[in-house]
């Protein structure tokens, strides 16, 4: 399972989102590879991922990808990330 956390630049918000997604996965006892990507490389990264995590503003920028795009409102809320990820973790 590969998950991509996408933000504009790949150094700030997506890094925090990646860290919190990893916390959520640990709490769920799930194993997945989470990487942070900027919007410029997100489409490529999203092609090889099952799930993309991003914000409402950036979701349309990702465009049509086979991955499931999940919008996170509060990047710091591990509970929100957990709740939204759970249905897609087999």
């Amino acid at each position: 399972m590969k998950i991509v956390a996408v933000c504009g630049m790949g150094i700030g918000t997506s890094v925090l989102l990646k860290m919190n997604a990893e916390k959520a996965l640990r709490a769920l006892g799930k194993d997945a590879d989470v990487e942070a990507a900027d919007i410029g490389t997100a489409r490529g990264a999203a092609r090889s991922a099952e799930i993309v995590l991003t914000s409402a503003e950036l979701a349309p920028e990702i465009g049509e990808v086979p991955a499931k795009v999940i919008v996170i409102d509060n990047f710091m809320d591990v509970a929100e990330i957990t709740e939204k990820l759970t249905p897609f973790l087999s």
């Binding site: 790949g10 150094i11 700030g12 918000t13 890094v15 860290m19 942070a36 409102d73 710091m76 591990v78």
Partner: protein, 155 residues
């Protein structure tokens, strides 16, 4: 490098007044400039990022992480901490208005991960944020950040 190691009083401003989000990001960028982390060009890039990609930097209720990409305008990894007296609107659908702008500069994509995990521990703690919002001096901000012992990744 953790948040309390990295931040100095010169990089913290409390009770600031900003006209709008651009002014808030500029003032947060001025803290990076004042502490030799980045140049004014980087502040312009942080503002341009929001103009181009929208207010996605408002990553949690009341909190914005202003940043741009690593560039020649960045001299070293670091952050500026701007606490606003009156919150400003960034145009974010869910997380407006913003009372805290953290400006982040980095040299590359992963050289600042210690700082980021320390920042994640702080921004993910709503009780801690509430006390930081009430901090009335840069020294008090540092004291709160230091005594919480946000050392390394939170479990």
């Amino acid at each position: 490098m953790t948040l309390s190691d990295e931040l100095t009083q010169d990089a913290i401003s409390v009770g600031a007044h900003a006209e709008d989000w651009r002014d808030a990001v500029r003032q947060a960028g001025d803290l990076l400039t004042a502490t030799g982390v980045a140049t004014d060009d980087y502040t312009d890039e942080m503002i341009a990022t929001v103009e181009k990609l929208g207010p996605y930097i408002v990553l949690a209720p009341g909190v914005a992480l202003a940043h741009s990409r690593p560039s020649p305008a960045v001299q070293r990894a670091g952050i500026g901490w701007l606490q606003l007296a009156e919150p400003v609107e960034f145009g974010h659908e869910k997380n407006d208005p913003v009372w805290l702008v953290v400006a982040l500069a980095a040299l590359d994509h992963d050289g600042h991960l210690g700082l980021m995990s320390s920042l994640a521990a702080v921004l993910g703690d709503t009780d801690l944020l509430a006390s930081l919002r009430d901090a009335d001096s840069p020294a008090r901000v540092l004291e709160i950040l230091t005594t919480t012992g946000n050392e390394g990744p939170a479990s």
